[in-house]
């Protein structure tokens, strides 16, 4: 299986029409797990890492969840293909940077398990929209199925043992990818971030740790993994996400009301630029697509177009543009390709109208 197959397939985040929602782009669950008796990948010697990879990939391939899925070994991929997987959130930058990591991806790309990242196994489940319980349920089942065939490192006192003390215990990182143009435009994002940080939640940019929030998209996740049950962690995150979504709607409505025509003008201009630009940088595209997503949420554009905006946000990233073109492109070449892809996708988009939401 190759990265081309992954790109060509209709996936949860790029094609699932019904799942898309206003504000929350996607829900993600990650579980860190390690095999008993083997060193963590960062300390393991190459032959040990090979043993880990063979054992984990073998177990994963045999699970019904991954039937007709993809097994991708980092050592067999070029730089561009590895970046495509990072841009799709299927692997982390850390996994993509090494040669001995692998990932096993389910056919619909909702489940992926990284092998030999910081821990032996990083189980990931992602769903479009806000579905915390459903996403957790799939992760739980996958964890149980893996636990039946692999003996996991577990301590009575500290729970699931991980390489880093920040993941020990439940090994659970639950997160929501949220689109917050209202709070950003109103200048409230710093305040929101501080409040979330103070209550044990991390706020990161689009591509995770250390990235900026292109397109007003943020990832909000729990930080503590030990001393709280999975149930308590999910409840805590869920409560906050609900509040953030409410605040975001308040900010949007206030903005639309106070700005009136200026609000609609901003969204209409972005559509205008995206429909006719010949060169589009990736951050410019992200920021304008953010306006289109806002327009779809607010009834300024038909809601059923939102999934297309989400797909363009993913497929407009640099490695995706090059992979589609089938060649390495310099920055101008990428901007040209991105512009023509976006123009093509938006050519029959209706005009922006005043908000109804």
């Amino acid at each position: 299986m190759s990265v081309e197959d992954i790109l060509a397939a209709e996936s949860e985040l790029t094609h699932l029409l019904g799942g898309q929602q206003a504000v929350v782009l996607s829900t993600r669950i990650r579980l860190a797990r390690n095999l008993e008796g083997l060193p963590f990948p960062g300390w393991a010697k190459l032959p040990q890492r090979k043993v880990i990879a063979d054992r984990c990939v073998g177990a994963l391939e045999a699970l019904p969840k991954f039937r007709r899925g993809h097994v991708v070994r980092m050592g067999e991929l070029g730089d561009r293909d590895r970046t495509v997987l990072v841009e799709r959130h299927l692997v982390s930058k850390e996994l993509a940077a090494g040669k001995s990591g692998a990932t096993v991806i389910s056919r619909d790309q909702t489940c992926s398990v990284m092998v030999n990242e910081e821990d032996h196994l990083r189980i990931q489940v992602v769903k479009a929209g806000w579905h915390l319980r459903g996403t957790w349920h799939i992760a739980e089942q996958l964890d149980a199925a893996l636990g039946d065939v692999l003996k996991m490192a577990f301590s009575d006192r500290l729970g699931y043992l991980t390489a880093c003390p920040t993941n020990v215990g439940t090994g659970l990182r639950a997160s929501a990818m949220v689109h917050l143009p209202g709070l950003c435009l109103a200048g409230h994002m710093d305040k929101v971030t501080r409040a979330l940080n103070q209550d044990g939640l991390a706020v990161r940019g689009w591509l995770g740790e250390g990235t900026e929030a292109a397109g007003n998209v943020f990832q909000i996740s729990n930080q503590q993994t030990l001393g709280l049950s999975e149930e308590a962690i999910l409840k805590h995150l869920g409560g906050w996400i609900k509040q953030v979504v409410e605040q975001e709607w308040n900010a949007r409505r206030k903005l639309a009301q106070e700005e009136g025509e200026k609000f609609v003008d901003r969204l209409a201009r972005s559509l205008g630029v995206l429909r006719s630009a010949r060169l589009l940088t990736s951050s410019e595209a992200m920021n304008m697509l953010s306006h289109l997503r806002l327009a779809c949420d607010m009834g300024c554009l038909p809601e059923e177009r939102r999934h297309l905006v989400d797909r363009l946000m993913i497929e407009g990233q640099p490695a995706h543009v090059q992979a589609r073109a089938g060649q390495e492109l310099d920055s101008d070449g990428r901007d040209r390709r991105r512009a023509s892809m976006v123009r093509e996708a938006l050519k029959d988009f209706p005009d922006v109208v005043p908000p109804t939401a």
């Binding site: 390690n34 008993e36 008796g37 083997l38 060193p39 963590f40 960062g42 300390w43 910081e118 739980e140 964890d143 149980a144 636990g147 039946d148 003996k151 996991m152 490192a153 577990f154 301590s155 009575d156 006192r157 500290l158 729970g159 699931y160 043992l161 390489a163 880093c164 003390p165 920040t166 020990v168 215990g169 439940t170 659970l172 044990g200 930080q223 503590q224 993994t225 030990l226 001393g227 709280l228 049950s229 999975e230 308590a232």
Partner: protein, 159 residues
């Protein structure tokens, strides 16, 4: 720009800055190039610092018998070597866990077939305390629910 720091031994601007931690207290010494070169051997405080600086590289205090990972490796990487390292460094890591985690004890899922004894005992203690409080507060519905939970926990622990 702020005023340059003066040498601790003369009036010159200090270019060499040394810190030493003694019993949790940080002592700082600032020296100009001249005094630093003199080695500061005449000043007992500086002499001590120089001594500490030239001392042999630190020795690991703890080594994992399973994978050879040491506490110095942990200081460098911030990650552990293998699952057994948690036994070796367990207590030393508790202070860190207190800072970055909710509580240094697991409360959650366990692999199938593993009875998380420590977790059940902690829950049993908490449930007994909660039941006592519920009885005192005359919340008998809650007390009854807790009594059932306590019985279930005791059965699980006995098995």
């Amino acid at each position: 720009m702020s005023k340059p720091i003066q040498c601790s031994l003369c009036e010159e601007a200090a270019t060499v800055h040394l810190s030493q931690v003694v019993h949790g207290k940080v002592t700082k010494v600032h020296l100009c190039e001249h005094c630093a070169q003199k080695g500061g051997a005449t000043d007992p405080a500086v002499f001590q610092l120089a001594d500490a600086l030239t001392a042999a590289t630190p020795m690991p205090a703890l080594t994992c018998p399973r994978c050879g990972f040491t506490d110095l490796d942990f200081r460098k990487r911030g990650r552990l070597g293998c699952p057994a390292c948690w036994d070796t460094f367990g207590e030393a890591l508790d202070a860190l866990l207190l800072k970055v985690q909710h509580e240094p004890a697991h409360f959650g899922r366990a692999p199938a077939g593993v009875v998380p004894v420590a977790q059940l005992r902690r829950r049993l203690d908490a449930a007994r305390a909660e039941m006592a409080a519920a009885v005192a507060g005359e919340d008998f519905d809650l007390a009854a629910r807790l009594r059932d939970e306590i019985a279930a926990l005791e059965r699980q622990l006995a098995s």
